[in-house]
């Protein structure tokens, strides 16, 4: 699975959206309907899936799916 696919699957699970709604350019809040608490849960799910720690100052900059994919690819 590519990083995008993993991020997409977690996003689908956490935000209860359809997989085809999740595109690289989608913003979590405006396009996918997440609120601030969803973002916290999303970041935690990314941390668990990718076995990384995402510091708050980095997490705050994640707005789009692409932001998340690029960060998790590093």
């Amino acid at each position: 699975m590519t990083t995008f696919e993993k991020v997409r699957d977690i996003t689908v699970e956490q935000l209860s959206v359809d997989a085809d709604e999740v595109k690289m350019e989608s913003t979590f809040i405006d396009d996918l309907g997440a609120d601030s608490l969803d973002i916290v849960e999303l970041i935690m799910a990314f941390e668990e899936e990718f076995n990384v720690e995402i510091p708050d100052e980095v997490a705050e900059k994640i707005r789009t799916v692409k932001d998340a994919v690029e960060l998790l690819d590093k």
Binding site: D35, S36, L37, V40, E41, M44
Partner: protein, 330 residues
């Protein structure tokens, strides 16, 4: 020595009459019902009358618990009150309550473990019963958080409510009652949920009052993160220690802080929401009182017959967490 099992012999709860709805709050701070419901699941909360302090709420809950257990105040040997909003720093609210219920033969002390307080206190009482030290202990969670709420801060004032719940703890049939305990703390996160002034670090002064440092301060996203992580974990630990798997749990009674935290913890535990007790919509977060109030209401709704396996799971200021696996004995 034969093993003694400790459990709950009787319970009672009390919520002050005054109800403050989200619509009432809309008139007080810049917020709205939809936002509060969406983020927290809370629709209303109860607020103590001006003349009511924490021990007054505790007293009514305690009287009901004593009656339910069929025990007189003078037969109580220890009173433990879990609270973060005591009547006074000292004497303890437990001593005030001991006097009100006529528990002349009881030791009394308060316990501070934030919203985990009631479960912590139940764990302490369990130890006192199984060791043979005492036969009957009154454990209370009681709060008037409305008194330390900044009613201009929309991030906190919508979340909390007042109330009290009490349990008489004593010996129960073998194999019933408290089966396991999981408790923990992470003091490094203490600053995320605190009342900064009024203690020896920052004694009350004009400056601390002007700065609003006697109010509850909370870093909402940090507490949310902590809560989501820990609630599932501590409940799971209690289950493991009792040798229980998820399918064997009849009811999860989580600390009622926020429906989003409860949903998330239930999901992580793999427990369906119809086995999770929720009343946060009516009362908001009543801190140490939330779990005993929830137990009482679960029982009123017929969810707690003898032999039912229940997990109590709390987290709160400290930061602290605590869970107990319980086989209902009444």
């Amino acid at each position: 020595m034969e093993k003694i099992f400790a459990g709950i012999l009787g319970m009672g709860h009390y919520l002050p009459d005054k109800v403050l709805t989200n619509y009432d709050l809309e008139k007080m701070v810049d917020t709205n019902n939809d936002w509060i419901v969406e983020r927290t699941g809370i629709k209303s909360r109860h607020i103590a009358a001006p003349e009511q302090a924490t021990s007054d709420l505790a007293f009514i809950a305690a009287e009901r618990a004593l009656k339910d257990a069929g025990i007189d105040g003078k037969d109580i040997e220890c009173v433990i009150v879990a609270t973060e909003s005591p009547d006074t720093k000292f004497p303890s609210t437990a001593c005030l309550l001991q006097d009100k219920i006529g528990a002349k033969n009881a030791a009394a002390f308060d316990l501070s473990a934030g919203c985990s307080g009631f479960v912590y206190a139940l764990a302490v009482a369990n130890t006192m019963i199984v060791s043979g030290l005492y036969k009957h202990i009154l454990v209370v969670g009681a709060e008037t958080l409305s008194r330390i709420m900044n009613w201009q801060d929309r991030n906190t004032c919508v979340l909390f409510g007042d109330g009290a719940g009490a349990a008489v703890v004593g010996q129960v049939e073998d194999g019933y009652g408290i089966l396991s305990i999981d408790m923990g703390a992470d003091g490094s996160g203490g600053q995320f949920l605190s009342q900064p002034a009024g203690g020896s670090r920052k004694p009350a002064s004009h400056e601390t009052v002007d700065a609003g440092e006697h109010f509850i301060h909370m870093d909402g996203s940090e507490v949310f993160k902590f809560a989501v992580k820990i609630m599932g974990r501590t409940a799971e630990n209690a289950m493991k220690k009792a040798g229980l798997n998820t399918e064997e749990i009849d009811l999860l009674i989580p600390h009622q802080a926020n429906i989003r935290i409860i949903n998330s913890a239930a999901k992580r535990l793999g427990i369906s929401m119809d086995k999770v007790f929720v009343n946060v919509d009516k009362y908001g977060n009543t801190s140490a009182a939330s779990i005993p109030i929830a137990i009482c209401e679960a029982r009123e709704q017929g969810l707690l017959e003898k032999g039912k396996t229940v997990i109590l799971a709390g987290f709160g200021a400290g930061l602290t967490w605590a869970s107990i696996a319980l086989k209902w004995s009444k």
